[in-house]
Symmetry: C2
Subunit: 319 residues, 2 copies
């Protein structure tokens, strides 16, 4: 059975590498730190590789101080465990360390996972890689402690929007019920993950929402953010994250549009709710993305860009 | 035992009244509809009294078409069950029907509950009245079906911000795990509760956020909603739901305050993030509630009320 093979590989390894994927999220960082602590509890020598910035919302997690950059490590490891990575390229420049490792394991919940390792434990029915890890740890009777439970709760809560997404099952709630018996500080986790919107971000959201315009019987919502507003609020580009989703979540909205001025160009972000293909709108401006989330860069003044995007959106809505 | 007495009272009653409290929320409506369906499943004659507007986010719930206004009902009932009501006044003008009922039951999870009925089943450790109802139904082997489970999930998810609040325990997650085995449409519930903010609500949020004032190094955030703004936007009272939580979720905020003008009085809503007891602030104004969520009605002009609430909040913050 797969998890017995996993157990054997871990038992026989002395030098284990774990690495985050590029632009790590809560499921990735939480899963990594949970596996790191489990391997430490099993008295393994383990290296935790995080090359990219850890999201602010995850910086409270335990053992992040052990994170290393891949540049400082030998190429060779006994065992490399990739967590929450759908394919090899998601490892970024750590890919070389993965390929040079004696043995490799891939633990993930992405449907598109390419089974790129020697041992692949992939379950697309798990709501998060953290959920899958809990199942593995429990089955192998690995020593789950408060820190491990904290990281797994964070992984699952992050990847499910606090248990709201369709991926969540009755089993997910059973797992969380068990994780809560390990004495974790749920309050601290939730404050960090969900109640920590910066003041700058809040102010930028309000400024953006003040520009909200609606078209086609309120099915299209458009907001704009000018360079001037960004400067005035001292906002970072990442402070605009979440604004276009906020528009999409208005009742009746099918197409949400955010136009962000950025010196000589306009960054277009698109979200659709249930039937319009966002890629078709983005591709009008040489952009791309997914069906419900797409974007493009437009080299036109803000007002002109807005007019053209609205026209394209109306066309796509009524197609 | 209390629930056996509950069972006897229900068994012996032929004409049962259930009523929402004033300004009903998701826990109140969900609990009412769950109890209504259970009593129907038990072949009881039951009247579901909802005098106030049901929040838009709850309008998808089953059996709302059976709701009646209290004016059309006889004063006399065999049994009146109040759900999610901390005190008798929360029943509004249905209070008379309650007092004229042969027997009364009060099922609630508010710490401040005044035990105002013949039989009081109050558990302030339950995350929602819906959670307490599940425990009762399960213990008495009452016939839970998909509709009952839908209403209980809605009650609990609503009152815990999708399982984020401190009131949520391992047991809450166990209850949800079980409710999900009844074939409920979790996706529909979550879209209605959390991804379907009305346009009026969005506009009211923006108007309110435009009044945001910060005190004590941004630890206290205050917003106000005037009667004038409500009129201008054609907003309903329930459109203000979620605003005070939005303020609480700003990084660094400990106390979030919403003051809503309502003709001759001010409705105060309070949320705290991690250490301030909101009840202590609310009780200054003869209000009450939970540690992290409390409220009061203040009979003063908006500006005077605001000054007094800020003063009380600063006092509590620095206690």
């Amino acid at each position: 059975m797969e998890i017995n093979r996993l157990n054997n590989l871990i038992n026989n390894a002395n030098n284990i590498y774990l690495a985050s994927h590029v632009n790590p999220d809560g499921d990735n960082i939480g899963s990594l730190l949970a596996m790191f602590k489990i391997l430490k509890n099993l008295n393994k020598e383990v290296h935790l590789i995080i090359n990219d910035e850890v999201p602010d919302s995850n910086k409270f997690l335990p053992n992040l101080e052990y994170a290393e950059k891949s540049e400082n490590l030998d190429l060779k490891s006994d065992l490399f465990i990739a967590l929450d990575c759908a394919d090899l390229d998601r490892l970024g420049r750590v890919k070389d360390l993965f390929l040079d490792s004696e043995t490799t394991i891939n633990i993930d919940h992405h449907f598109s996972n390419t089974n790129f390792a020697d041992l692949n434990i992939v379950n697309s029915k798990a709501s998060a890689t953290g959920e899958l890890l809990y199942t593995i740890f429990e089955n192998l009777k690995y020593p789950i402690d408060t820190e491990v439970a904290t990281c797994l709760y964070t992984a699952i809560a992050s990847d499910t929007g606090s248990f709201k997404y369709d991926s969540v099952t009755s089993y997910t709630f059973e797992v969380i019920a068990k994780l809560l018996t390990y004495g974790i500080n749920k309050s601290e986790i939730n404050i960090n993950l969900f109640q920590n919107r910066s003041l700058e971000k809040t102010k930028l959201l309000v400024k953006a929402l003040n520009t909200l315009e609606l078209f086609e019987e309120n099915k299209i919502g458009v907001v704009t953010i000018s360079d001037e507003i960004m400067l005035k609020l001292g906002a970072k580009i990442s402070d605009a994250d979440g604004i276009v989703e906020f528009i999409r979540d208005i009742s009746g909205i099918e197409i949400a549009i955010l136009l962000k001025e950025k010196k000589d160009n306009i960054r277009l972000s698109l979200r659709t709710k249930s039937f319009v293909n966002a890629i078709n709108i983005a591709s009008t401006f040489d952009g791309g993305g997914h069906i419900r989330a797409a974007g493009a860069t437009i080299y036109l003044p803000l007002e002109t860009a807005k007019e053209k995007v609205i026209k394209a959106a109306i066309g796509e809505l009524n197609k």
